[in-house]
């Protein structure tokens, strides 16, 4: 309206703006729902998936902000007084005082009163090295809670270390291993599958034949072999010279084992997509093959990739536990849930059963993997409504 002046001689020639505006408004009011919005709406109605999702979010937050919580040290041993204590709910412990007599004192970090050098030495004793972010969180914690610690709710291990604290710090390592290794497998699998699927013909045949062969290669055994070699002190030093820590290689190796299925799935999807018109459209405006694959095709297989992702993370975390069991996983002073479970099962004897050492790590691992599995199922249903109710 405001565009057309009353005296405008061209008014008659102009399109009927009111009508277009009306159409525009109407079109605007019918907003399309994207696949993701739709999926999210369906997922929100599924309380199992939502419970799993909230649990995982809380867990991730807990892992990130672990130093903030008033936990005991995950490292400090106390062979004299605190060996293999069952779960306790009082934050006190027996200590031997200077006179050599036993007395009951609160569990304490003995940190607040220390200054500078002493303080740093004690922090090193309690947590090895802390990065600046963790240091910050620790300072906040000391400001709020002081030396006070949560009681050993999950008991202590055979070296007198607090299991609860070890579980929290283990969560950091386990989750990181799960995520990073999965991302590695994702990267390899998606690129490989997408390229094979898009290239088609001989290249595809060859690439997929290689995958077929690899299915018959007992990778895990080769991985074990490589890891033992990497655990050699000499090799480790050499690697550290290059600035690569052993755990990075661990990620890459685990990731490299789990990409085969992902490659197959992605290839299948790409093949069914690559004859769609939007790919032709991209090609006609001169997009390169690389661009078509990674900008146009891969985003379209994202949903299936995400579903598969939630199912790969548990597999990878189990593999980490498996490596820990063989003594080839992360190394002390780092802790992971796999390692804690292994420590728990190792001390099973007919004489005495330290049930808390088996139950709590298993519970942590199982509830996380459980949630990931349920979330994966829920996501699959949400992203692919056809699959609903199956």
């Amino acid at each position: 309206m405001e565009l057309t002046d009353k005296n405008d001689p061209y008014e008659a020639a102009l399109p009927p703006i009111d009508k277009y505006r009306e159409m525009y408004n109407e079109a605007k009011s019918i907003r399309g729902i994207s696949l993701w919005q739709d999926a999210w709406r369906r997922l929100r109605r599924d309380w199992v998936s939502m419970t799993a999702l909230s649990f995982l979010v809380l867990l991730a937050l807990a892992a990130i902000f672990t130093p903030l919580f008033p936990l005991q040290s995950p490292r400090e041993q106390d062979l004299a007084n605190r060996v293999a204590l069952p779960p306790e709910f009082v934050s006190t412990t027996k200590v031997t005082n200077k006179a050599g007599e036993p007395e009951v004192a609160p569990v304490s970090l003995n940190l607040v009163d220390l200054k500078d050098k002493e303080f740093e030495r004690r922090v090193g004793e309690l947590w090895t090295t802390l990065n600046p972010f963790d240091q910050l969180l620790l300072n906040v914690r000391l400001a709020i809670f002081g030396d006070w610690c949560v009681p050993s709710l999950c008991g202590t291990d055979l070296l007198g270390r607090d299991l609860l604290s070890r579980l929290f710090y283990g969560a950091r390592v386990s989750l990181i291993v799960g995520l990073v290794a999965t991302l590695v497998s994702l990267l390899i699998g998606v690129s490989y599958g997408a390229i094979a699927g898009y290239a088609g013909g001989l290249v595809d045949d060859l690439m997929m034949r290689i995958v077929d062969i690899m299915y018959s290669v007992p990778f895990i055994f080769l991985v074990l072999f490589v890891i033992t070699i990497l655990s050699e002190d000499e090799v480790k030093k050499q690697l550290e010279g290059y600035g690569i820590s052993r755990i990075v290689i661990l990620y890459i190796l685990i990731g490299a084992v789990y990409w085969l299925t992902m490659a197959r799935v992605v290839r299948g999807q790409i093949i069914s997509l690559k004859n769609e018109q939007f790919v032709d459209a991209a090609r006609t405006i001169g997009a390169s093959g690389f661009r078509i694959v990674f900008m146009h095709l891969v985003p379209n297989v994202l949903s299936i990739v995400i579903v598969y992702l939630t199912l790969t993370i548990p597999a990878v975390m189990l593999f980490e536990a498996f490596l820990s069991f063989l003594g080839l996983g992360v190394e002390p002073p780092d802790v992971s849930w796999g390692m804690l479970s292994e420590e728990g099962t190792r001390v099973i004897t007919p004489v005495k059963i330290y049930w808390w050492l088996v139950v709590f790590p298993a519970l942590a691992l199982a509830s996380t993997l459980y949630s990931l599995n349920f979330l994966g199922d829920g996501l699959r249903d949400a992203l692919d409504p056809r699959m609903k109710n199956r």
Binding site: F221, L222, F225, P314, A366
Partner: protein
């Protein structure tokens, strides 16, 4: 069919050769001394003798062909650690144990998985279904060795149903193979349930009911075949998983199988033994994958065996 098998044989030879080559060079380049590494205090003369015995004094490529030649004659030579034993003897001891553990585990997994999966699908959304699915997810979410730990605490120490560990009697195999089977049974159960529900929604199932067949006939004759296709294709990866799992369980239950030998060989850099066991595993995996493809073709007549 014969053409398919011949082709597969060819691929197997190729695969095994590739695995052999990669493993061989990987092992010997990163730790050239093998198991002799740990015995530095040996007198020089003996050490040289040993080196000659294992051809360690020869260049690596030359040794590669020697070992390859020996492998072609199915003679992987002596172990480096257990000097008085040949690798064939080690395999002859370990393989039957591991295979019976694996076969028993796989059978348990299939029986438990099929039964619970079918019942779950038929009694969908009931208490039974939810219970089975929760147990199945638990089986997937707990590491093998933790499960074995629980099993030992409950069945061995508390209920005293099974012997703790050891090897020799058939009963010794039951608990380990059940623990080995658990995650795979869980997965197979889920696959069967999904497959069953999908097939039960098909038109041909309605046709079967319309023909007046009883529900059991419909499920077992008409639905089962279609429903287990995903399970069949899962058997390849499952075999790989069972091999891995047996490493853990042999260790927990002190079973002298191939897994135990492999771990030991790897930790002690007994390269000839590791290599031989890797080759055996490759062979087993390849055979299993071929069997899977073959049975896929037998179950689904629409599948053509053309690879």
């Amino acid at each position: 069919m014969i053409k398919f098998l011949l082709k597969r044989m060819l691929w197997m030879v190729l695969t095994m050769w590739v695995v052999f080559t990669i493993s061989f060079f990987l092992m010997w380049t990163v730790s050239p001394e093998g198991a002799l590494l740990s015995e530095r205090q040996l007198p020089e003369a003996i050490k040289q003798n040993l080196e000659r015995y294992y051809h360690l004094d020869q260049p690596l490529t030359y040794r590669y062909f020697i070992v390859l030649w020996e492998y072609l004659h199915l003679n992987p030579g002596p172990s480096m650690k257990l000097i008085d034993k040949s690798i064939l003897e080690i395999l002859r001891e370990g393989l039957p144990i591991s295979i019976s553990l694996g076969v028993l585990g796989l059978s348990f997994a299939l029986i438990l998985g099929f039964a619970s999966g079918i019942i779950s699908a038929l009694r969908r959304q009931t208490v039974i279904d939810v219970t089975f699915r929760s147990i199945a997810t638990l089986g997937i979410a707990i590491p093998n060795f933790v499960l074995a730990g629980f099993a030992i605490i409950i069945f061995v120490f508390q209920l005293k149903l099974f012997p703790a560990a050891g090897w020799g009697r058939p009963i010794d195999l039951v608990l380990p193979s059940l623990c080995l089977a658990a995650p795979f049974a869980a997965y197979i159960s889920r696959l069967t349930r999904t497959g069953m529900l999908e097939v039960l929604g098909q038109d041909y199932i309605r046709t079967a009911y319309a023909k007046g067949l009883m529900p059991t006939t419909v499920v077992l004759k008409h639905a089962f075949r279609g429903a287990i296709l995903p399970v069949v294709s899962y058997l390849g990866p499952a075999t790989a998983g069972i091999l891995t799992g047996s490493l853990v369980l042999e260790r927990i239950f002190f079973i002298p199988g191939m897994g135990s030998h492999f771990i030991e060989a790897v930790l002690q850099k007994d390269h000839p033994v590791s290599l031989a066991i890797v080759m055996v595993y490759t062979f087993l995996l390849f055979t299993m994958n071929t069997l899977v493809d073959l049975s896929y073709g037998l179950i689904d007549p629409r599948v053509k065996l053309d690879k």
